[in-house]
Symmetry: C2
Subunit: 349 residues, 2 copies
């Protein structure tokens, strides 16, 4: 039987991982770059220029706490910042459905402009395409961005090597070592669960919002403290997927303490109602950060003093004692956190 | 009445220009970049990093002379090369329809890999999204690329300033001056007319092919000769649109000699049959080049010695004598070449 792409391939997690490896990465393997496709990090790097791209499709286009415009800017800025790099410019590829109301386009562009202003990263290139009426939710946006080595990342790396002897250039998924602390910069699952609640018509709208936010400013402050070894924005597939990627690429186990996981109470309630694990849904304004333990206390305090990090929490540790991602549950048990086969909430980022 | 996006907005030409200016560029205007959105050049530039993006939708995905994969790589490589910059890395944003056959995806990725190999530019970042069945032709690709100042561009600029006193950094649409020669690197209209003929089932398929080609190698050789002031790849809206952009941004007139325009005979025949002006359709392996006249002979000879430039021809001159783009026709008349309101051949790039 003819094999086909399914919605599951686009939802993060294992379905997509396998597709990427077998069909896309293998033929495109190339030499000569610092961080290439096969590392599957948040961005690629060549000649010290960081490049990332992300296609955004979200239903509906406007939702509590954000919209496709803010989403597309934050997603790309955060992918660059997750390498420790400084985002310097963005490109927008707009794919518009024939019949899209100009007022909708205007609102989205205004939201993009506003988010660019907030994070200080301009759109410097763009393209528009119009497609026939059909399955896209009126508008899709593929955003790309470039970044570069920053003074703050150099400070971070110098402090790290001085205190621990560990040399690094970028914050990479493969940098974790046993003993490193795992920090999350805020509450988990807000984007995915709020979108799903909104779509299903549950009455959480007034208080439950997406966490859409550009995190380059937060990253800058953390880097100045020093000791960061890895960072990742847990979008598709959520925190569960991001931790599994780290464990696999760094060849370490990760132990997470359930009681340390920060959740918005409404997210907890809504995920129970929806039957969705908030660890498996996308976040759009959070980093997980791997931090050398010598620096953790100071990094955490700095994160907490930032408006996008006030709920930051140390949620666990990289460890040689386990081989996978293991959660110590609140009731004293253990649960293996698997990479989800797909995001349980479709079309959210 | 509610204003809406129409297919015409996506087809290049005036409909798109107005949309871009009013709704997209104005709110996104930002300071501090060398070449930003409002210049609407082939790429944006910030901190000496060139960034470009292009969404590709073509029907059918495979056509004589190319496919969406080759198209997406060439389009981006050429947008960077058109600034005189050296393309160094690409990103791929794949948008796949639920149900896309994996064999099709494999063929497209292989074509991408093959084209990357040919032009020596690797894919370093990527993203995949799956959307519900609908209007996209199974697969859309938004490609972005980064480039940088190259030694060849420095050579070009040094020779230009030594011979003419004209200083420049990048090849920009606003650099043309009266007296500059206008060169096209090969036959006009092959991509658009061959695609349209193929779709309509005309029997030109065996000989009429898209010109899909990466032109960074051709640009390198021309830059080494020196004297290039501007370059542009005439994709959506074709040569007519590209010349009008030059005239308007450089505030010069352009005079084109009809008898110098290189056409593949089948393109001429097919465009008459289809009733389409080949000057208004997209090319995917051609540059128009503005060249200081002191260098034209040598640049032309160099272009002609390259496999992608063998039909290169000087087609006219920038001029202070006219205010627009004017064609001297073969029969001794004059015709104003307008920027087309839209590409007459939809969904070709």
């Amino acid at each position: 039987m003819q094999e086909r792409i399914t919605m599951n391939h686009g939802a993060g997690g294992e379905g997509m991982q396998k597709l990427l490896h077998d069909i896309i990465l293998a033929p495109l393997k190339a030499q000569g770059m610092e961080i290439g496709l096969e590392q599957m990090d948040d961005s690629g790097i060549i000649d010290d220029i960081v490049l990332t791209t992300d296609g955004h499709t979200v239903k509906p286009l406007f939702y509590p706490g954000g919209d496709i415009g803010r989403l597309s800017i934050c997603g790309t800025v955060n992918d660059i910042s997750a390498m420790g790099a400084e985002p310097v410019g963005l490109s927008l590829g707009l794919i518009m459905e024939d019949g899209l109301e100009l007022d909708i386009l205007k609102r989205v562009i205004e939201s993009i402009a506003c988010t660019c202003q907030e994070c200080g990263v301009p759109v410097i290139a763009g393209d528009t395409k119009v497609v026939e009426k059909g399955a896209i939710e009126k508008l899709m946006i593929t955003t790309s961005g470039i970044g570069r080595m920053s003074q703050n990342l150099e400070i971070n790396n110098e402090k790290l090597v001085a205190m621990t002897g560990r040399k690094q250039k970028w914050l990479q998924d493969c940098n974790l070592r046993p003993g490193d602390d795992i920090i999350i910069t805020g509450t988990i699952g807000d984007h995915g669960i709020s979108l799903m609640s909104f779509r299903e018509g549950y009455n959480f709208q007034t208080t439950l919002e997406s966490d859409n936010a550009p995190l380059n400013g937060l990253m800058d402050e953390a880097l100045q403290i020093g000791g960061l070894v890895a960072a990742k924005d847990p979008t598709r597939g959520g925190v569960a997927n991001a931790l599994n990627e780290w464990a696999s690429k760094s060849k370490v186990g990760i132990i997470i303490e359930e009681e340390k996981l920060p959740f918005n109470p409404q997210v907890r309630a809504a995920s129970e109602l929806l039957g969705i694990d908030p660890l498996e849904v996308g976040n759009e304004g959070k980093f997980i950060i791997g931090c050398a333990p010598e620096f953790t206390e100071h990094v955490l305090a700095t994160l907490k003093s930032h408006k996008y990090g006030k709920d930051a929490s140390v949620i666990g540790k990289a460890s040689a004692d386990v081989k996978r991602v293991v959660m110590h549950t609140s009731v004293g048990g253990k649960r293996i956190i698997e990479a989800p086969a797909g995001d349980p909430v479709p079309r959210i980022c």
